[in-house]
């Protein structure tokens, strides 16, 4: 009873990275609460494909909903299924990926269950809470921790009275780790017709066009990231050149994306990509919490900034005080592949 649930996403029978990451975190939370970890897959043609992927993460019970009405994803069939399942199973926690699907589905389900949902959490913990108004004490709530307010503060959110306590987490924020390759969990194959009605299936997907992501930012060993201080699109070309020389990828802060210096897919941070490169070169990035949330586990951090007191400098192993457009061309000349012309 009152298990931890993870809503898993699949693509052609393969579980999404974020779902493995959430199962891992879900197992940790379930251990701490001494309850079961349960997982839900809702798709078409997944029976027989997902069980062996999911159970080793320490899943005690897996619900596989397999029916053509569940694919391609549209909101209402999945929302109806989850809200009805939750009213039967009464989970205390439900985790979802902060993907296009999770961010579409989570709020719909939370509204149907009248439960609280916190988006884009960067950490999840279990702890107690005393309501400052009523003095009521609550044991073992889910602490949903996220940068808030444009990433300038970090807030810890709790849902004292309503269940399930729901949270979404971006891909790459948590780590994925198999619990036990032979973990013994039950698998249930409920009748989808009991959960989804014809009225739920009114939105139709006519066609879908998905491209390989233009960047391999998430797995890059070297990231050259630019912020507002890069100043222009042309400034980003310099960063691209340096990233290419270092066999890395270009990233950006939200300020740079908002300013139109580069495409949104490059955004690193709470509402973008989380990276863990060996080398992170921050160019003209001040270091709002929302950005740092996406790069704080980087190995070596180099910060290039005209402001010697930029907040990101506190995280940096090397702080270069200077203008991006002066420093980056000089670094370009010193890359391992660059022809050595000797110091000028």
């Amino acid at each position: 009873m009152n298990s931890v649930f993870v809503y898993c996403e699949t693509d052609k029978g393969q579980l999404a990275d974020v779902s493995f990451e959430l199962l891992t975190k879900g197992r940790i939370l379930a251990d701490r609460l001494a309850v079961n970890l349960e997982a839900v897959v809702a798709d078409s043609g997944v029976r027989g494909k997902v069980e062996k992927q999911i159970l080793p993460y320490g899943v005690d019970r897996l619900f596989v909903f397999d029916d053509p009405v569940l694919s391609p994803y549209t909101t209402q069939p999945h929302a109806a299924l989850l809200s009805r399942l939750f009213s039967e199973e009464q989970p205390q926690i439900c985790l979802m990926g902060a993907t296009t699907i999770g961010r579409d589905l989570g709020p719909r389900v939370s509204s149907a269950c009248t439960s609280g949902l916190t988006a884009d959490c960067t950490a999840l913990e279990i702890g107690d809470y005393t309501d400052p108004r009523t003095g009521n004490e609550y044991k073992d709530l889910l602490y949903q921790i996220r940068p808030a307010f444009g990433g300038n503060i970090v807030a810890t959110i709790v849902n004292p009275e309503h269940r399930p306590q729901m949270a979404t987490v971006r891909s790459g924020v948590m780590r994925a780790e198999v619990r036990d390759a032979d973990y013994k969990g039950e698998v249930a194959y409920p009748d989808v017709a009991r959960y989804v009605t014809a009225e739920d299936c009114v939105v139709r997907v006519l066609e879908r066009h998905v491209e390989q992501l233009p960047t391999n930012l998430k797995g890059a060993g070297v990231v050259v990231a630019g912020g507002y201080g890069v100043g222009s699109k042309e400034g980003f070309d310099l960063l691209r050149a340096l990233a290419k020389e270092l066999h890395g990828e270009v990233g950006a802060s939200r300020a740079a994306v908002d300013a139109g210096f580069c495409e949104p897919a490059l955004q690193i941070g709470q509402t973008g990509v989380t990276v863990r490169p060996k080398l992170y070169i921050a160019c003209g990035i001040s270091g709002a919490i929302q950005h740092v949330a996406g790069m704080k586990e980087s190995g070596i951090v180099v910060s290039i900034n005209t402001d010697p007191d930029a907040p990101i400098n506190a995280l940096a192993d090397y702080v270069i005080t200077g203008r991006v457009e002066d420093v980056v061309p000089k670094l370009l000349k010193k890359t391992p592949q660059a022809p050595r012309r000797g110091d000028v």
Binding site: S111, G150, H162, V210, I320, T321, G322, P336
Partner: protein
């Protein structure tokens, strides 16, 4: 039958231009230091509504916001751009609402207005980035939803065809009307204010009746148990101003020799190369 469009908008503090004075020493938000603006994604939603109005004879656009009395500013800006009328939902009882309590109050107001053919809203507001209120309003009104819409292709015969963003691509979907759409900010740049409309509405203030109506929680028959702080399942336990743990940083200048030394060190330590 003419087309009725409702646009949900929000006045937000401009978190994009946060300076060092944005936070008080106690770690709370210094709202006075941040300008209040029209939420960017909502402007894109308004523009798509205005384009539909141009294509559909007799269409009407109503704009709804919930907020402080000052939020009448974004309603006025909507009228300047071509919205037909506006509703300001404001009440102390609605203060401190999380996304769920907000969507409940908005849904009550929409029922009072009368469910329109289309509800458009921005994908998310820059002060929270949750993207939750749109889907939650749709659920409360039992309407289909399509999120992250970047283009409305066609609206005819009770169906609307759309292009929406998904992870790594786009998809075309078709939804029945009425439905709720959330619009991505770069879907369309909103047109500027119309000088004639500015003159018409410059002095338009919220009133019980007229072009800009002001409603309280009681006016929309909202159950106070489900409104504001009281109706919010999520509570903020703590807010922290984060100070990064300082590493031992090496300080360098833009000098060639120093930068050369850095690169040699990175190569020697197998970080690059």
């Amino acid at each position: 039958m003419s087309l009725n469009i409702l646009v949900l908008v929000k006045q937000v503090p401009d978190t994009r231009c946060v300076g060092p004075d944005a936070m008080t020493p106690e770690g709370t938000v210094n709202r006075a230091a941040l300008p209040a603006i029209f939420n960017p994604d909502d402007l894109a939603a308004l523009e798509l509504a205005l384009r539909l109005k141009e294509e559909h004879e007799g269409a009407r656009i109503t704009v709804l916001t919930m907020g402080l009395p000052k939020a009448a500013e974004v309603l006025r800006e909507s009228l300047y751009r071509g919205a037909d009328d506006a509703v300001l939902l404001t009440d102390r009882a609605l203060g401190g609402a999380d996304t769920l309590a907000t969507s409940y109050a908005l849904a009550c107001a929409i029922r009072k207005i009368g469910t329109p053919d289309l509800i458009l809203c921005g994908r998310q507001a820059i002060d929270g980035d949750t993207a939750q209120v749109g889907p939650q309003v749709a659920e409360k009104l039992a309407l289909p939803q399509v999120t992250c819409v970047e283009r409305i292709e066609q609206l005819a015969d009770g169906r609307v065809s759309l292009v929406r963003r998904i992870d790594g691509g786009v998809e075309r979907v078709e939804a029945p009307v009425p439905c709720l759409l959330t619009i991505v900010g770069d879907a369309a740049k909103c047109r500027p204010c119309n000088a004639k409309l500015v003159l018409t509405h410059k002095h338009t203030e919220p009133a019980p009746d007229g072009v800009m109506r002001q409603w309280s929680a009681a006016d929309v028959e909202a159950d106070l148990e489900q409104c504001g702080l009281k109706g919010s399942p999520t509570k903020v336990k703590a807010v922290q101003n984060i100070v990064f743990k300082a590493k031992e940083s090496r300080r360098l200048t833009a000098d060639e020799a120093e930068l050369d030394g850095l690169m040699k060190e990175l190569i020697a330590n197998h970080i690059i190369g």
